[in-house]
Amino acid sequence: MIRIENVVKRFPGGQEALSGLNLSVDKGEMVFVTGHSGAGKSTLLRLIALIERPTSGQVIVDGQNTGRVSRRRIPAYRRQIGMVFQDHKLLYDRPVFDNVALPLIISGAQHRDAARKVRAALDQVGLLKKEKQKPETLSSGEQQRVGIARAIVSKPKLLIADEPTGNLDPDLSLEVMRIFRRFNEVGVTLLIASHDIALIDQLGCRRIALENGTVQVEEEEDVVAEYAERLEHKGQQESWR
């Protein structure tokens, strides 16, 4: 789904965020990118979202070489990817429903159709009853879930998240990760940047550790099955439609 080949990203100041990065993420995987700040996690995600372009090397997303996506086609490209941000990036002047509906409105969906999809997405993150509220009346964890609902409302095959639990306490973080996990179970590919090692260990997914702009360690998933069992015990079996 994602292939990063020899990617170098140098900023105008001369500092190098990524220096010859190689990695790949298969369809249906849920992968974490770790590393302390400045290791290049965010830059990697920004390259995938085409907020930045690499200085050299190739970023290939779902068979599309992002280097060949022209400026005009960037919006259409971005619509294929769900994005979740640490600071949620919600529009605070409009209710939850409108925030989640935004990607559908952008791609020109019909109102009735959109409403159904928005409610389905809000149901996924457990916020169906709060669709009329303004984001600022929600807790940080709930706001993040609104952001997630917005990212998945148009059912992207790929979801990228930059420190999605950065501002959340451990319980809320686990809740958010569980939501991601459910998407993964229905085939969504996820690439999540996080420095919360303890949390990632609990989930047991593949982990790519970045340091100084290159891959330092790759850990294969070993405890996924165990984690899935744990989830079942908790009776969390809402299915992704």
Binding site: D62, R72, P75, R79, P103, S107
Partner: protein, 321 residues
């Protein structure tokens, strides 16, 4: 993950037809932009007021010219001219000629001024008085003052002049149009001034609306960034601002019509009094339907141009960081 396929799969486009979807989307944005304007009623009313006044200025100037032209039009229709007969035409012939001309359909009245009477008048009015007594013969001819009928146009009056001037008894025909010509020339200058003024004020409106939209874009920078981040095109983020410009222009145009109507209402009584003093049935001409439509359309167009310029300049620079 082809984009086209995904858009189709969302269903709307296939069921309702792309045009209807497009229309609905625009209608939604249009109403949404209006709703946003009503959230800050005072500030936005001020903007609309400035646009309204700016549109009303050239419109008012145009009305002044139009009314002046209509007044001079009345003068032109009632334009008398003098037909000087040859010196050897006797008074009886002049009398007969006056009767003949009076029967023409395009002539309202003919007054004969005999040579003696003309000399007498000249003696009284010119102040030469006694010196005229040294003349052996009256140097003045008999004169017919012809008033063309009110159905005449400028052309038919001219034809009438020519026809009468060609009569064997006629020496020459003099039309006292010079001062009317001068007045019309002044009107023509004013007409051009209206055009130039309208162009300058139109540019001012583009700048006013452009600046308002620029501020609006800056205030909503974050929103634009987020919207672009999740895949909105430049056209999509530009659209609400274009509709804001549309509403400013429409509001300004309608307000300009209101201001003009109020101005006419306020002047009506004093104009009627003045017309009464001149024994005239003159009333102020208002803007006709086409002119009103033109003002509103100009407002809308300038609003769109202003917001387009602002959006094109500033929207491109706002990219997600």
């Amino acid at each position: 993950m082809a984009i086209g396929r995904r858009a189709d799969a969302s269903g709307g486009a296939r069921r309702a037809g792309p045009f209807k979807v497009w229309l609905l989307r625009h209608a939604g944005t249009c109403v949404g932009a209006l709703g946003r304007l009503t959230q800050q009623p005072f500030a936005n009313f001020m903007t609309i007021l400035v646009i309204g006044v700016t549109l009303a200025l050239p419109a008012a100037l145009h009305l002044i010219v139009k009314n002046a032209a209509s007044v001079s039009g009345n003068w032109e229709n009632a334009l008398d001219f003098s037909m000087y007969l040859k010196m050897d035409v006797p008074l009886e012939d002049a009398q007969r000629l006056a009767d003949i001309i009076r029967q023409r359909a395009d002539v309202e009245a003919v007054t004969l001024i005999p040579a003696d009477l003309a000399l007498e008048e000249f003696r009284e009015q010119s102040g030469f008085g006694a010196s005229l007594d040294y003349l052996d013969v009256n140097p003045l001819p008999h004169t017919l003052v012809v008033r063309p009928g009110s159905a005449n146009t400028e052309q038919t009056v001219l034809l009438l002049n020519e026809e009468l001037g060609n009569l064997p008894e006629a020496d020459f025909v003099q039309v006292d149009t010079e001062w009317v010509q001068r007045f019309l020339a002044i009107l023509e200058i004013m007409r051009r001034a209206v055009v130039i003024g309208a162009a300058l004020l139109g540019a001012a409106i583009v700048v006013i609306i452009g600046n308002t939209i620029r501020l609006d874009i800056q205030n909503r920078r974050e929103e634009i960034e987020v919207t672009k981040l999740i895949g909105a095109s430049n056209a999509f983020v530009r659209r609400p601002f274009l509709y804001s410009g549309f509403w400013y222009g429409l509001g300004g145009g309608l307000l300009a019509l209101g201001l003009i109507a109020y101005g006419l209402f306020a002047l009506r009584d004093s104009v009627a009094r003045l017309a009464g003093l001149y024994d005239s049935a003159f009333t102020l001409l208002a803007l006709d339907f086409e002119e009103s439509l033109l003002i509103v359309a100009a407002g809308v167009l300038l609003g769109l141009v202003g917001s387009w310029v602002a959006a094109a300049r500033h929207m491109r620079r706002i990219e997600p960081r």
